[in-house]
Point group: C2
Chain length 452, copies 2
Amino acid sequence: MIGGDAAGMSAASRARRLKGPEELEIVAFERGHFTSYSACGIPYWVGGDVDDRDALIARTPEEHRARGIDLRLRTEVTEIDVAGRRVRARGLDSGAGSSYWTSYDSLVVATGARPVRPRMPGADAEGVHGVQTLDDGQELLDTLTRARGRRAVVVGAGYIGVEMAEALINRGFEVTVVNRGSEPMSTLDADMGRLVHRAMEGLGITMVNDAEVTGLLAGGDGRVRAVVTEDAEYPADVVVLGIGVRPETALAEAAGLPLGPHGGLLTDLGMRVRGRTDIWAGGDCVEVLDLVSGQERHVPLGTHANKHGQVIGTNIGGGYATFPGVVGTAVSKVCDLEIARTGLREKDARRAGLQYETVIVESTSRAGYYPGASPMTVKMIAERRTGRLLGVQIVGREGAGKRVDIAAVALTAGMTVEGMTALDLGYAPPFSPVWDPVLVAARKAAAKVQNS
Amino acid sequence: MIGGDAAGMSAASRARRLKGPEELEIVAFERGHFTSYSACGIPYWVGGDVDDRDALIARTPEEHRARGIDLRLRTEVTEIDVAGRRVRARGLDSGAGSSYWTSYDSLVVATGARPVRPRMPGADAEGVHGVQTLDDGQELLDTLTRARGRRAVVVGAGYIGVEMAEALINRGFEVTVVNRGSEPMSTLDADMGRLVHRAMEGLGITMVNDAEVTGLLAGGDGRVRAVVTEDAEYPADVVVLGIGVRPETALAEAAGLPLGPHGGLLTDLGMRVRGRTDIWAGGDCVEVLDLVSGQERHVPLGTHANKHGQVIGTNIGGGYATFPGVVGTAVSKVCDLEIARTGLREKDARRAGLQYETVIVESTSRAGYYPGASPMTVKMIAERRTGRLLGVQIVGREGAGKRVDIAAVALTAGMTVEGMTALDLGYAPPFSPVWDPVLVAARKAAAKVQNS
């Protein structure tokens, strides 16, 4: 295993469960200090919802070792010798001359992703943080404690940016989010992103859209002082970079392994690297098949990484398993606003050459008369003529986010919006109006497809 | 239309939307005082969660009339003359001689269901209530206000019984639930019903299982005094009957329309009564196809009644729509305990001649480290050999109930539990563990099918 987080260690654990130490020797290299942690939980730890860093660690190095996995922390793999079936590694805490080769029968590449760090003046100033690893999270928390002022700027308004804005608000900072796109959450269409925009403003977050960051200003002490865009300067005592990640595949690329259009490793459905029978890859460093568009995508998400690991471990352990692909489901929240999407946005559909109809409906999370019923906006996209569901986006309060699962399953099953109108979804006044918001959207979408 | 609640008035509204008054004359007969109300909301009104009876009324008689529907309240249809295409009706508030015939081109039978009233001594004592109609709810509320003591007995522990137990607790009564089955919620398997049992006891509800009510005792003043079973007597100042409903089809049966094994009208997928092109039926008076077992079922639920009405109204209005059937989804709650099911229970599977594997898993509603993560129990039933999903039952706290929709869609799509393990469900720490509880169950079920 190269990489000791979700994909790598899930694969290791699963393979170990199927084959004991006498049958299968497992060596895992991890560059950092931790294994099997929830990077997705970092914003909640930084924001104070989760007290303890260790709560984010699903399985410690000691637990892995106790199960007969030879885990080498703070050890970086620097080269894959595909022909010789071996990797070269070196201990990061030992001297420069300490590199060594280790042979393999099966190799798992689970090198994850790296944050997109803008190449701009000042990006390495003190007080500028990514939030990719537990180490990053700890450094950011230290900065927050030491910060002289209470002004925070978040660069980027995707999931991480939005979650970090909430975290910083919770820590008592004045938060400005500087966003390149026309609305926050570019994983949604702009008409739905606008709802997130309004909600963020309602929380006291200053949202700056259509703004490209050109640099960061540091003071004489090396600490960050402001974020600079073409039009303005935003004073900052701390800056969080939440501008997305790219597959970490330099090592794989150097070894000649095949990369896709998004820079991620390409695999078959069993998570074998394409063209190889002895190398596997999973997690944030691979591209996956989008089952709706039929195209490759890069979707760095812990839930997929865990599934990949499960599939890889099963196959290495002598079983059989596949990962068929994704439909692009994601949920998030800003305080009590829940944000969810699955399938294609309008621009994804256009890019895939699809013609479509869209509807947006307003409904409520519960029967309108039931206490706590709150508004929910559902956007649904369906293919013209066939009526096939292409995507759903939901923004609302409690109960909005996980409703997207209805659409995620329907997408996986290739349902039409007409077929969805008859879905037998759970109904009782505390849980849903008599027509679930997703059904209302499906009805309207079906009518629109029919009349198009 | 015979019947002015969900199915009948949805059909009327939909047909009116498609055809104006010059094209289509619509007459609707309703025996009671109200139209288009949420019977499912009655427990929450009785319990005080919903203040106002009128909040349960989706559309008033005046609103229907304003849309050109000739609505005749307090008017009972006493006969259907199928050959003559006419119905005989009489006003309940006018004299006995006031009956009259009305002709039709299309007839919609939406007569609903009637509560199972036990034939036992004392069942008509004062203070004994069903909760089927708004009138029932009002009478029960009046009794609660006047009750001399605070002892309430609920007969039956299905959805209505359990919801009414909660309502009465909220009104400050001491509540005993007398249940014929071995555990409450016989719509679940007993192993899951036991979790509901424990939760109800935790709320201070006295749960008496395996107890057949043999009679009710009334005092000299005609008021109910106790509920009697074979083994014991339970003192009661008020009694709520929640022992289920049967299709109200006496009228249809007298007219020679076809009834199924559960006493409900049989229809085709367009909701036409079988063998008839001019009579339609929907809502609680019909049987529907269970898509999992392939057998007919009676599922009295407002969400189906609304769908039936929509389909009937579309077809009468000159469009085309079908209701393909149900998978048997239902959600409910007792205080903060959420209870959900879809598909087949073990006994349904046996009755349908299916062999199956079951798993029960314990998981949490959110990432374990995230505040508010609460335990959730998921039972999954899968067919042997094929691995086809047959049913899911979920008991837990917030976020448990509507998770059943994942399984409802998967059942509709005929998915296998192996296929479900790869579902791309929404994941973020505030919404789900990295493996959603439904995925955990699917993985275990798939392994069990594989090893069987």
